[in-house]
């Protein structure tokens, strides 16, 4: 059963990665990053049960905390960029390129 969980986690992680690469809307890109974090958490929880130790669950807990902080800051940055550029597309934030 452990293998099943790990394969599911890998699939979700890959789909999230494709989303980050394919989508242009900054908020959707951010959601895909969250999906990748969640997939990692699933792997951590699975390994905790596989190895009979709670460390995996503790790390998953910390990942959740960091993800919450990251969402707060990331969305604040997106809102700030939207205010100045009137766009939530990641292609439009290319000021450093020129």
């Amino acid at each position: 059963m452990t293998t099943h969980y790990l394969v599911l986690s890998a699939l979700l992680f890959a789909i999230g990665g494709v989303g980050v690469l394919v989508r242009r809307n900054a908020i959707v890109v951010f959601m895909c990053v969250e999906l990748m974090l969640n997939a990692c958490n699933l792997a951590f929880v699975t390994f905790a049960r596989q190895n009979g130790s709670l460390d995996g669950q503790v790390i998953a807990f910390f990942v959740m905390i960091v993800a919450a902080a990251e969402v707060v800051i990331g969305l604040a940055i997106i809102v700030t960029i939207f205010r100045t550029r009137r766009s939530a597309s990641v292609d439009d934030a290319s000021l450093l390129k020129h």
Partner: protein, 291 residues
């Protein structure tokens, strides 16, 4: 048996939802799909002897994080679609190829690993899941836990600093707005008073009902133009209102032709100028009076 049924149902649901998250056109659908994935993952945690993490997943992710996502989505514009322009040629195709390759590699790697039967958490969580987790967090990981609090405070402060916007100019006071209204009145003749209410003789106060003046006639100011156009297209517009609107449009046309004629005869002196001058002259006086 029960676990494998749960797993297969939730695995299909969460992978389908993940594909929906990536490929749906509307960002709100993506957000709802993400919520679905998070709930199914919470159930998978619960199945795998992690009831505390399942609860935290529901509370933190589907509660706080998804709410934040939807909040920002509504702020930033729900209908801001994705641009289909590829800034890098063939990026979409190669991204999908890379994703499939990554999934296959990881899946094969995991599938080939020889894993012993899971040990299970019965031994590690002899005192129950939450007390055992608490013991781990507050003894071995206590430093990381304390640092977490600093992280959360920094994140909250950072969000406040980033989202805060300094006012570039002072907020217009009631006095400023009143002055702007009368300047507009002097320039264009726009009525500085508020629009007429339903009136004493009104029998309805719906938005499509024109206000009645004290003599019982319709006040053209109160007619909603958009609704009137809609009603005229449907043929349900009140004939009295239609007559008034026509009359008003005709007088407006007359006024504009008159203004054009005036402008043609006196091209060096636009009409607005004298009004601006008088306004500019009176303004300082008013301020001194107030002081």
């Amino acid at each position: 048996m029960g676990e494998s049924i749960t797993f297969w149902v939730l695995a299909v649901v969460s992978v389908a939802a993940a594909l929906g998250l990536v490929f749906s056109r509307r960002a709100v659908y993506s957000a709802l799909m993400l919520g679905l994935i998070m709930i199914s993952l919470a159930v998978l945690y619960a199945v795998q002897d992690a009831p505390f993490l399942a609860a935290v997943q529901i509370i933190v992710y589907t509660g706080a994080v998804m709410m934040l996502f939807l909040f920002v989505l509504m702020l930033v514009g729900v209908d801001s679609g994705d641009s289909l322009v590829e800034t890098i040629r063939g990026q979409r195709f190669w991204a999908i190829v890379a994703g499939i390759g990554f999934a296959v590699l990881l899946g094969l790697g995991v599938g080939n690993a020889m894993l012993a039967a899971p040990k299970g958490l019965a031994e590690a969580t002899a005192a129950g899941n939450v007390p055992s987790l608490a013991e781990q967090i507050f003894t071995r990981h206590v430093f990381a836990f304390e640092v977490t609090s600093a992280l959360l405070i920094t994140a909250a402060l950072g969000a406040m600093v980033l989202a805060h916007r300094e006012r570039a100019e002072a907020k217009p006071t009631q006095k400023d707005m009143s002055r702007a209204r009368f300047v507009a009145f002097g320039k264009t003749g726009k009525n500085p008073a508020s629009l007429p209410g339903p009136g004493t003789y009104a029998r309805h106060n719906a938005i499509d009902m024109p206000a009645l003046l004290p003599d019982g006639t319709v006040s053209p100011l109160s007619v909603n133009r958009v609704l009137a156009r809609h009603e005229a297209a449907e043929g349900t517009l009140d004939p009295e209102v239609a007559r008034l609107l026509r009359q008003e449009a005709a007088s407006e046309r007359e006024a504009s032709t008159l203004a054009e004629q005036v402008a043609d005869t006196k091209p060096t002196k636009p009409l607005e100028e004298p009004f601006e001058e008088t306004v500019g002259d009176t303004e300082p006086l008013v301020e001194e009076d107030v002081k």
